[in-house]
């Protein structure tokens, strides 16, 4: 029962945060709202007995990625004058809702056909570091390995794009 209420609480927060993200004009406000969403998602992961993911969501997403974004926002020192005016924002929002509605409805229709299950916590170890780690390193070794290449590419790419290195003559 408590789980149910917790879900509703987190869900509301997540949706509110998302709404804030897409409605606030300044990216700083948007980012703050997005952090709310991310944290409530972490809570939801915990409710789904994914304890490792709960931690990762907080540390990696809400912690690392978001602080990076916030840092850049502040680094660029964005003023209200730098921001686009976005006069037709509401038109686009409502038009967008109309356009997206079929996709959303279709997805809802789809997920309803999936089998349903309880969300109660199962097993002591389900979603724990050890179990997930075993799965990761036994079954998902290849994706895990190539993610390292991906990160390498992102690293090199970020250096190239944003770095200060002078162009070769």
């Amino acid at each position: 029962m408590i789980a149910q209420w917790l879900f509703y609480g987190f869900a509301t927060l997540a949706v509110l945060g998302a709404l804030g993200l897409i409605l606030f004009q300044h990216p700083m406000n948007g980012a703050m709202c997005f952090i709310v969403t991310l944290i409530s998602l972490a809570g939801l992961y915990a409710l789904l007995s994914a304890s490792l993911l709960f931690a990762l969501q907080l540390i990696v997403y809400a912690g690392a990625i978001m602080s990076l974004i916030l840092f850049i926002i502040m680094f660029l020192n964005i003023q209200a004058t730098d921001l686009p005016e976005e006069k037709g924002r509401w038109t686009f929002l409502f038009g967008g809702i109309l356009v997206i509605a079929p996709i959303g409805l279709f997805l809802l229709k789809v997920v309803k056909t999936l089998p349903q299950g309880e969300t109660s916590i199962i097993g002591q170890d389900f979603g724990g570091v050890k179990k997930v780690g075993m799965v990761l390193f036994q079954d998902w070794l290849l994706p895990f390995e190539i993610v390292s290449i991906l990160l390498l590419v992102a690293l090199v790419g970020a250096v190239v794009l944003a770095g200060k290195k002078e162009m070769a003559s």
């Binding site: 279709f106 997805l107 229709k109 789809v110 997920v111 056909t113 999936l114 079954d139 998902w140 070794l141 290849l142 994706p143 190539i146 993610v147 290449i149 991906l150 390498l152 590419v153 992102a154 090199v156 790419g157 250096v159 190239v160 794009l161 290195k165 162009m167 070769a168 003559s169």
Partner: protein, 471 residues
Amino acid sequence: MTCDIVPLLPLGIVGFGAIILMLLAAFEKIHLEVAAVFSMGVFALAFVMQLLPAGPDNLAPYTALFHGMLVTNEFTKVAALIILACGFFTAMSSTSYFRLNSFCTLEFYCLMIFATFGMLLLTMAHELITVFISLEIVSLSIYVLVGYNRKSVTSAEAVLKYLMLGAFAGAFFTMGAALIYGAVKSTGFEAIASFIAAKGLVQSPALLAGVFFILFALMFKIAAFPFHAWVVDVYDGASVPVTGFMATALKTAIFAVLANFLILDVGLKDFWLDGLFYITVFTLFAGNLIAIGQNSLKRMLAASGIVHTGYLLIAVIAVSSNTISGHIILFYLAAYAASTLGIFAALSYLGGKDEQRSTFDDFKGLAKVRPYSAAAITIFLLSMAGIPPTAGFMGKLYIITTAFQAGQTTLAVLGIVSSILSMWYYLRLIISMYFHEATDPFEIVGSPFAPVCTLILAACVFAISLFPIAI
């Protein structure tokens, strides 16, 4: 089990080469053109390794370790060959380009090899998240390559558009993977195939929606209508060698995934036939219509790339699902790659500093001043337009005959119509090269690599057309 390593050798070489080059780049130990030659060497070595016999078809190397997430067969092998050749020729022609445009650093080649690494993975990947990660490896490297010229605002614009829309499509891919995971309980291709074979696609809406999203993401990458709009701007903003690389290698890799994915089960492909049909038709015509309005060569080539996507989609639709040899798709990709890379190689030394020559009018009278370059470009254009005896003609011929055989008469006829329409813009360049007086001296500075590359590719256009395939 000893032969498990053989199919993965090219992948290993490319990955290893990229990392070595990355380290070298960090210490700035080598000259730019040495790096180009080094990457050509890496591609050539991987190409040769790829030619080694790799044992039985549909081999999953290191099954115990990778759980069948990589599968190699004749199809992936040839696709990888095309990709490696594209990489090789891009590296070759880029040397001339970077003599004229000095924004290159060593990381350029490093990223190109990383992108190739991702593409090779893509052709072999048999698991959705592996596909996704490989796709991201490719995409991230190419985003950076597109925006490599940091001084150019158009280049920055191109990378913004590509990155934003690419990530957007990527998000759909993950959602699709999630839905498939929900339905099948796995994201491996084998599991999906056996699930469909057992239960059918329509019986499981979640699977259907998941496949739908994944197809969308792939269609976006190959610029099928209505997800094509980015391609023209991005190709335009990217530098010439990058555009050539994107247009050929990336397309080959994505088509390999698309084919791998669609042929999982007959039911899977048959369900989408109608949808693919309309997408194909619109893709063919949208590409043609965008192309005729263009004045810039790169934009025209980008738009014509959309048309070629349409042809390839015809091939995807038409090849029989049970016994996909994929020969036709690969043949067309090879033919298209040869002519496209050829044109971009020619543009990289004819374009001049900062790509000052970029429109149709800039190439007026080229034939009077540089007859061989003009002849080579003509060969490439004729191949793209599908005029015999070029490879492009054979490719179109195979595709259209297969479409007829598969009963897709409408598509075959529309394919022919579209190839007629495409003459409009291909011949326009030929006309401006041959039937005008030259006002520009077209002097060439730079290494002889790109002209040699153009020559080789022009020969390839004919050589590929002779390559026999069984329909």
